[in-house]
Symmetry: D2
Subunit: 396 residues, 4 copies
């Protein structure tokens, strides 16, 4: 009989959908060493967690997360609430000795991030942050290529995560309020590309050499009444003519020097017209280069400078070859693409492997990793504010 672990999910919304799906699909496409049981989902009463549980296959619903995360029946707590609500359940779950998974960015503030990382360390519980782009097969393969030395010495990293949903007609949802979201595009998007490039390139930021923190739309129409804000990315219509202040950034750019001598640039934007979900990186090394763009998530662009010069060029690798590209063999034959949601299922599989004491397919981001990423984001904000370069050592 296979081992099982009972999962409690804290929160619902858009991310709850991805996570519910991952926990229910993982055992169909993978053979995890521990079988996850969708035990209980938490939601506020207004969210009707019972109906949600019914739809997504959770056995129970709860409106009391504080009791839930301590329940002896629960082995793993998975947090998908808005950013400001990550730390409280995470710290409670860790204190109760649960395996703890948390959506990214790890927290709304650096203080919370540091505290969460320390709590996980002190309580010695496995902790995981859903930096799911590591688990796109093309990105996972890029990681393996860099690690195998295929790019030589890394010289340049360019990363950008561009979206365009936030024009002036989008109302003042939680994503535009600092108290609820922590930050805007910076925490939402730069968090992803900062983690992803640290992971793939294996280098660490030493200095922030410039930054811009810009809010293009400074006032937006307030939402009134009871509105499920968790799922709003664009398209929502305000039912009021009153305006409120946007207190987060629309776009943040920063330049970096890395510990190996490489240099880099980062940009997050929500009004980059024409870019729907362009999570992009380019890494140039002395022996080769890689490019990735999530809008073509099954592809990895590779330039091998060691090939005969006449046939050098960017190769579009369709990263759907099960024998080579991580996670793929568990899905479909070559050329049959997977999508966004599969990155969550891939991660659920690796979390379960680690819980069972096995090695993950590729490394996972712990709370400590996510805290390190958060330090970089914080340093960029200081740079933009104080108009001077900032050493990462200044930010703890």
């Amino acid at each position: 009989m296979s081992k099982t672990i009972n999962v409690a999910m804290i929160g619902q919304g858009f991310m709850g959908k991805s996570h519910s799906n991952a926990w229910s699909q993982v055992a169909k496409f993978f053979d995890p060493p521990v079988m996850p049981v969708l035990h209980t989902v938490f939601g506020q009463e207004a969210e009707n967690p019972a109906a949600y549980a019914q739809k997504w296959g959770w056995r129970n619903a709860s409106t009391d997360w504080e009791t839930l995360v301590k329940s002896p029946e629960i082995g793993l707590v998975d947090i998908v609430t808005p950013n400001f609500m990550h730390a409280p359940p995470a710290k409670a779950a860790i204190a109760a000795g649960k395996v703890c998974c948390c959506e990214k960015p790890i927290a709304g503030t650096l203080d919370d991030a540091r505290a969460m990382a320390q709590a996980a360390k002190e309580n010695n519980v496995p902790s995981f942050v859903w930096f799911i782009y590591r688990r796109v097969p093309a990105v996972a393969y890029a990681y393996e290529m860099v690690k195998a030395g295929e790019l030589g010495e890394i010289l340049h990293i360019r990363a950008s995560y561009l979206q365009d949903w936030a024009d002036e007609n989008v109302p003042l949802t939680w994503r535009f309020e600092k108290e609820l979201a922590g930050s805007g595009a910076h925490g939402d998007l730069n968090a992803h590309i900062t983690d992803m490039t640290r992971f793939v390139a294996g280098v660490e930021v030493e200095e922030i050499c410039g930054a811009i923190n810009k809010t293009f739309v400074e006032k937006r129409k307030k939402l009134t009444g009871l509105v499920d804000q968790t799922n709003i990315i664009g398209g929502a219509t305000a039912d009021t003519s009153e305006y409120g202040d946007v207190t987060v950034d629309d776009s943040v750019l920063f330049l970096t020097k890395f510990n190996n001598g490489a240099i880099g640039s980062y940009e997050a934007a929500r009004q980059a017209t024409g870019n729907k979900n362009r999570n992009f990186f380019e890494i140039n090394g002395t022996k080769g280069s890689l490019k990735f763009n999530f809008e073509r998530m099954s592809e990895l662009e590779y330039y091998d400078a060691r090939r005969p010069s006449g046939v050098q060029g960017w190769t579009t690798i369709l990263a759907t070859h099960g024998a080579d590209h991580p996670y793929v063999k568990n899905w479909w034959p070559d050329g049959h693409l997977i999508g966004y949601e599969h990155t969550f299922t891939n991660m659920a599989y690796d979390v379960l492997k680690v819980v069972a004491g096995e090695e993950p397919t590729i490394p996972l981001a712990s709370f400590e990793d996510a805290y390190q990423t958060q330090r970089i984001l914080e340093a960029a904000l200081i740079c933009a504010k104080e108009k001077r370069f900032v050493k990462l050592d200044e930010v703890k």
Copy 2:
């Protein structure tokens, strides 16, 4: 309380995985008017249907399809066996008055296809063939655009489905044997693009004006012992040094004239090196053109000849916009891609709508539709064999 329908799946293998997933996912992402129950899966004893049922969520397993398809508990029979085994369970299910779904091509022979279409008609049961590429959001949107007249009069159709898995090292699986597979790339791949272009362009073939039917690798190593052949697309290794005859095509091309005056070309290939799953069409009309390639399944290329001439060009539509592109709003936000398997879930949703008396999101292919497609494929084979043009009317 919602209505339900009990589903029996006949067969397992690669296609069984897609279908099991579709029937189990559809109610999570859609709100079907009838809820499917994964009632029973049929498999041969050697396939261990009980374990399969356990893994994929089927309540029961059976090794007796003849009894199963007649069972009063079953409302819908879904057939995913190799092509030669489509007709027997389909006819039995239809005779028993069940809703009947069948993998493509509808049958291994034109006679079987005709008989199945007639049976469905005579018994007045809903029948559906899994031409799932209709349900790629980009393709479904192409259909809607053509129907709305956005392309003007259709002049040219180019379709090709290119793969490259069948080099000389691939052994003699069922896919290379006429008795089991019916045909090679023709039935496997040309069936898809013939249906897809008939569907999208809304025109019908009148004449086959040339065809090539080619087998590049005429002998392959035999497989011995008990081998699960259903899932083999490339990569398999023969455990014998004995060779057997390949009795199907590797590649079939044909040219067509359509009933509206348009002209077209079709090609299926399994040794088109570099093409993993390039299911492609281009349609040129007097007002605009469309291109699609399944290897970038979330994209649709559109040329609008009515735009100001200075800005005309091919537009890469990322068909992930829920407000416009069929099926998408049930999945993820804009720019968050779906994959191959979702086309099955999209189809399961529409089958359930039709079963409940509703209109599908976009039209489904009935057995009659699939039989019409089969006539075109047959006419192409006659043309290649007799080295003369063939009117479709010649083939019944």
Copy 3:
């Protein structure tokens, strides 16, 4: 002191511009063993050859081609008139022992093509047809790759040359009249891709296995008065309301079997909306594949099936690397593109090399080569007309 050769150009128009430029640029960018002198240009009086000569650097102008091509001062005759006017000056020039260059297709009729090839052979004069796409560096490099065996055994050839300038508003220029043009898209475009693929792939057509010959726009507005028709590709406006019959094809498709067992498809079209000048081929071999599209003429797509499977993919070679890609080192540094006209200059260089007794950079098409290409085009027309497959041997 360097050797020189006096050139006479018969005709002006669009092609005259390309050729004048080539003859005047070749000695600047290359070091030809014989220096071309732009001696005399022929034009009809209405074309004002004197002004033309002045603009393009020809020393003399003539309105009497019959005298010109026999002139003892002339060493090389270059013919750029409409197709029906190729044979007379070509035969006269050959009879006079001149080196003879001719625009493609070599002639308006197969009889003329055969006669021209025989004349060149019998008189033992060097003859050249301006199949200039051979001289795109990317195509020349493709030729070298195939010749070096990089693709293994050739299995598939797909070629198409798609344009979209010929909508119903374009008037009845010489290009739509069989007497003047010989044929429509077939001679204009299929001639190019037939030559180019024979050249690159090194295989020969044995049988035409189907063909379509289609005229979509059967009547067009007549032009009246004196109109310079030679340069009209689209955009012209008729100054009449009278309609005349189009007597050439708009589109011709055909399927081929080659002498090595490969199979192929060809298509030329003038109403393929969205395609401006899409001269395209794809060649699949057992070891690799190549793709080319003239709209991105500096790029060659290469798939190497011998690379490690994880990094296989289509590589976009920017064919601007002087050390590898033919002709490039004479132009600009890597990444600095050349354009359409350079293919003519590259050819002029090779013609001058051959005239001097040297080997060309890559092989040139002689009148004999062009006649062989013409036989293939003729066979396709017979196939379309008689609705049966046609062996190339049937066409002499």
Copy 4:
């Protein structure tokens, strides 16, 4: 009889080739109101200017530029020497009242740039800097689109000019020595994209918000003996084992705030493996976006956010349509590409128009414009050095 102007070119090398070609081609493809006469080329004796003149069509050769630029026969002086040698002949030519053209960057130092701009202003002579990327038809059309308001308000500008020729094997040519080159990738590449984006977007930099100035390869092998260094971009082999210091940058990045509230990023690199000549920009506005990459110089990517949402996407405009795209009608029909050198010819045409008192097709960069661009580059260097943000006002 048409007016003429005698041109003197100061320098030879790679740029001399482009310019000689431009001055000799312009009257063939355009009808300039003043005809340029290739009067005299200056070169050092070792460069053999007489042979150069012979090859490229200059009537005379000179080894004394000081006399040449003052010669009453000369009307226009065109300077193509290495950067440190721009100011002396420019100032002399201006003092003599000649029309003065100069390669970019305008000078090796900001002081020289300022002095040249002032001289041109005070002497009231037309001055032009060869920022030739403005004259790529796609870029010129982008300028017209932005000017016509098609992009709405500009929010984001991203520009990068990436090359990869400067690996550690490239020896110490003049391009790596500050005294001769002024700077490295910054002056060579950032100068181009800074001018190009100022031109296209029509916005001005107000503040540098971060910068990195990096030299990856700090020592390179010295060249010995007489070497023509002017043409070396990669590929050269040192004939010595002695190493010398590289005194210029390999890569410079900087972030900018613009006067309209937009934000931007710039990057120049010479070791960005896989990028041959990737001169790139992306501009996002509230109504649309544009992207350009010189490696596909005939294409412009355009996103129109005002189209119906279902068909929005990036449109690849093939900017070869004579009726719309600047300069194209003078070259070839639609879909027949031009290349790198044509941008020089296009500029020569506009220079001649301005000399004749006409408006240029699109605006040219004067010495004053180039000085403004130089200020931005200088500010970026100060930022990188002093590790603080720099207002452009600080740099005069």
